[in-house]
Amino acid sequence: MMVSKKALLNSFKQFMVQIYKDAMLILLCIAPLLAGSVFKFGIPFAQELIYEYFGLTKLFVPYYLLFDLLLGSLTPLLYCFAAAYVVLGEIDDGISGYLSVTPLGKRGYLISRLGFPAVISFVVSIVLMMVFSLSDFALPYIVGIALSSNLLGIIEALLVVSLSSNRVEGMAVSKLTGLFFLGLPVPFFVEGSIQYLVFFLPSFWLAKFAIEKELLFLLTGVLVSLVWIFMLNKKFNRKINK
């Protein structure tokens, strides 16, 4: 079954118009760029300062990778939140349900509201990591990291939409979904197999993959993410058809 291309493009255009008309959402979209600059130039600079005053060498160096991961996952985190925020507004206005009875259809709606933003944020996070990362990454790793952090972003968007009934609640819930990213520092700070206690957090596997460069970790993370997406999808669907 094909989704009407015209409907898909116009629906996405409408999405972009809504982002464009909301100053907060525009800010969210350029925030990763700002964060990237701060990380890239600020952290090595702070490192220098600390060395001068306290004589501590390379305090941050072991964590450069963590900063890179934060940067990489910041883009999907913010972009997918922006998408969820638009969807919540559309649920409020009764639009989401209505669009499933137009040639756009439910699938077209999902593609234009979650699919396209995820693709854009995938590309943006790759570019940002290439430009701003502190460690030297080969492109395939960057792509792997961008992929799994974008799945994380989709989980966040599904959670925000499923758990909140309006935009104000959405803001609150999005802070909670930040917990999903807590898996990132675990492999850096927790040693031994106890770290696997957070196996259900896809962000944990993302960090494992970045540290060990082991494809298996990437795949495990993707799998865990898909389980989450599968579980949330039903709740999400019920919400938009209300």
């Binding site: 079954m1 094909m2 989704v3 009407s4 015209k6 409907a7 116009n10 629906s11 409408q14 008309k21 559309e90 206005d93 009764g94 639009i95 349900g97 209505y98 669009l99 499933s100 009875v101 137009t102 040639p103 756009l104 259809g105 699938r107 077209g108 058809n241």
Partner: protein, 281 residues
């Protein structure tokens, strides 16, 4: 255009929509009448492909609705119970966006606005619209792509008599153009006026299905109401076909003492109460 056979569906384990069978022809206005919670909107959701886990068959425009693809909607227009409009956009921008989702040639938007009396409010934002204005905008949104089948859920609710009249005229106009229309309503007068046939729906079942005229004629007898003065005004009635047996009436006629006399036909509402044992609201 629409053919429903042995349709069954429930939101829960308990049976709800059951044994529904009917057919709607092209160019027909078909009414769903029933009290709140009867399952009218649910039935509409099944026909429009929003609910797909039903059993039995619901064929709409040659497509089994649960197997529809998205092209199905090029020819279906929906006016939901609640408006679905971008509050922050103007009315015109709303229609422009919704229209852009169809591959078909659209109707003249300005003409539609004028038809429902929104000609001067096209460029107002929807949040500045009153409830009735939103209903009217939502209604023309369903007509925008000139669909062959229209599903209208309480289109006239919340409208003043003049706007309600305009809307009913447009509905009739669409019918004369050959469109098929499913009209859900609590309003018996609207139903009697607009619908070619109506289905009484109660507790998920069809309790009666016929033209409003046949329903009225077959079920209810026309009554004769008269009044006379006997210390105070007294009103009595008898079935029209039994006037001969009413000796009081005959006496009164003989003595030329009637104050008033008129026949009264039952309304669709009376029939509804008779058939289903309850009122519509």
């Amino acid at each position: 255009m629409i053919k429903v056979e042995n349709l069954e569906f429930s939101y829960t384990k308990k049976p709800f929509i059951k044994d529904i069978n009917f057919e709607v022809k092209k160019g027909e206005i078909f009414g769903f009448l029933g009290p709140s919670g009867a399952g009218k909107s649910t039935l509409q959701k099944i026909l429009t492909g929003l609910i797909t886990n039903y059993s039995g068959s619901a064929i709409v425009n040659h497509t089994e609705s649960k197997n529809h693809d998205d092209r199905f909607y090029e020819n279906i227009g929906l006016d939901f119970e609640f408006p679905s409009l971008y509050e922050k956009l103007t009315a015109r921008q709303n229609l422009k966006f919704f229209g852009s989702l169809y591959n078909k040639k659209l109707r003249d938007t300005e003409e539609l606005f004028h038809k429902v009396g929104l000609g001067y409010d096209m460029d107002k934002k929807v949040f500045e619209y009153s409830k009735g204005m939103k209903s009217r905008l939502n209604f023309i949104k369903a007509l925008l792509h000139d669909p062959d089948i229209l599903f209208l859920d309480e289109p006239t609710s919340g409208l003043d008599p003049s706007n309600s009249r305009d809307m009913k005229n447009i509905i009739l106009e669409e019918k004369h153009k050959g469109k098929t229309i499913i009209l859900t309503t609590h309003n018996m007068n609207d139903a009697a006026e607009l619908c070619d046939r109506v289905a009484f729906i109660v507790d998920g079942r069809v309790k009666a299905l016929d033209t409003p005229h046949n329903l009225i004629m077959s079920k209810g007898a026309t009554k004769l109401k008269y009044s006379y003065y006997d210390k105070k005004e007294i009103i009595r009635q008898c079935p029209l076909n039994k006037t001969v047996e009413d000796s009081k009436l005959l006496d009164l006629i003989q003595q030329n003492k009637l104050l008033s006399i008129h026949s009264s036909e039952p309304t669709l509402n009376d029939i509804f109460i008779e058939v289903t044992g309850r009122g519509l609201q």
